[in-house]
Symmetry: C2
Subunit: 293 residues, 2 copies
């Protein structure tokens, strides 16, 4: 299995690839997210790994746009807790460090560390794994990098401090995309991701759309409206639901949905991620017990 | 009017402050978003300006968390189109530039420019306005900065190229927060922002929640579920609706809503932003004409 991802080796997307496909997956670094999609579409990789939402920063609309612009299918998902480890060249001790490089967002997520160590200056870098890579090359004795712990070994660095992040609530959900859809299997808890635009000028359209699912006892796992900045009163909708298109009630709901929406796309049907941490919005009317408990 | 904002002078949040309160607003730069909230809470500023969602990057959950952790009220909103201008020290021409500094996200949003000018290297910086500020101090002849056009004059730089961004779809929605709520006025198109958690273990809870609004012909302008990474089956909901709590049907809906949700907060009732660009989700049943057209 060859998986394309955005960034350099040691990036969180690469960690997510091993979560989804095991340690033996071979990974192909790409400069931009668009390149990840193209690598898969053109057969240079079997699948592509993209982040789609983060618990602190929200849904990554740009990657939804790329999903809609390309004809790939979601075949897997994984939820990765984002850990920032402080790493440095072997021989460097905490007391020697004057500067720590990483992506500005990662540096901000470790602001408490910089408040506690006021002699240490943060340095902005393009990405977290890239900061580790550059330090591995330059081997500066007074500089550290904040990146995923996996990046340390890769670039010959030593971890001085793990979990430098302010909060443990930082999770990113990653998707794996392929040219062909995942083969739906009964007995495997399955999730469907949809994107659509509601039909305009129909009163009560949102209520009608949700009725499609709730009247069939289908749980929604995500619902999000995304405004279109250029077209007032136009918006995109993202919905994830619990169920497989192989189930009759889900197939019926998806057919019914297309009566009330336009620009509909089933982005993929795929196994619910292990270590599933995302909540379920109880869309149905029927009495239900909680899954997984 | 004294408005606190995150960043340095020339930041987009400061531009948004002038959109909301006019050119004469005096602005107070803060290091972190948390500092903006504290500046308002402690009376060091009359209001605070925060970004809450971006058309490409999604809702900024961290700022929703701060809204819930503090007791401030949303009193205004503004939608700002994000423009990246290339600026440099006076005397510098395009041909002289070898390096352009900005926030990695801004640099990525201008990737086409760097593809067209392969001799120009991007340089990561903490923020866009900060990149302009540093260049204004260092006055390096071969370096440019990508920032809001407003930053150029502020730091004695000249704009060499406007609209360097790849796409014109990049809008950020900003909120103004104050210690006291906005005084609701009839005749002023008004918006309410709510946050809540649905009551657990009630079948069909999402349908019930939306019924609260749709049965009263109240349009929803935003709906978003946010999973709680630490508590499976727990999630936060963000809803914006068209209407004022002074209207009976809205007041009734908000009272009804509290029967089916927990941890309810009315984050604010405020005038709909001029240059409102966000779409309306037609939640109601009644026949309606489009507003503003």
């Amino acid at each position: 299995m060859k998986a394309a991802f955005q960034g350099v080796h040691g990036a969180n997307s690469e960690v997510a690839a091993t979560m989804m496909f095991g340690k033996n997956v071979s990974t192909v670094p790409c400069a931009r997210f668009e390149d990840v999609f193209n690598a898969v579409a053109r057969g240079k990789a079997d699948c592509g790994i993209i982040p789609i939402e983060n618990s602190l920063a929200g849904s990554i609309h740009q990657n939804y746009d790329l999903l809609l612009a390309h004809r790939l299918h979601i075949i897997r998902e994984a939820h990765l807790r984002i850990v920032h480890a402080l790493m440095a060249t072997p021989g460097t001790t905490m007391g020697m460090i004057h500067r720590v490089r990483s992506h500005p967002q990662a540096l901000a997520q470790c602001s408490n560390f910089f408040l506690r160590h006021s002699r240490i200056e943060p340095e902005a870098f393009f990405d977290t794994a890239g900061a580790a890579e550059s330090l591995g090359k330059e081997r500066l004795p007074h500089v550290g990098a904040l990146a995923a712990p996996q990046a340390a070994e890769l670039y010959g660095l030593r971890i001085l401090l793990n979990h430098v992040e302010n909060t443990s609530d930082n999770y990113t959900r990653f998707l794996a995309l392929a040219r062909k859809p995942w083969k739906v299997r009964t007995g495997v808890p399955t999730k469907c991701s949809l994107a659509f635009r509601p039909v305009r000028n129909i009163p009560g359209i949102l209520f009608r759309i949700l009725g499609v699912f709730s009247l069939r006892d289908i749980d929604l796992l995500k619902i999000e409206s995304r405004p279109d900045p250029r077209s007032p009163f136009e918006y995109q909708f993202y919905v994830d639901l619990a169920g497989s298109p192989a189930e009759q009630r889900v197939a019926n709901a998806l057919a019914h949905l297309q009566e009330v929406v336009s620009e509909y796309r089933l982005l993929g049907a795929y196994p619910m991620g292990t270590g599933e941490v995302y909540g379920s919005i109880r869309g149905g009317h029927g009495k239900r017990t909680r899954r997984g408990t």
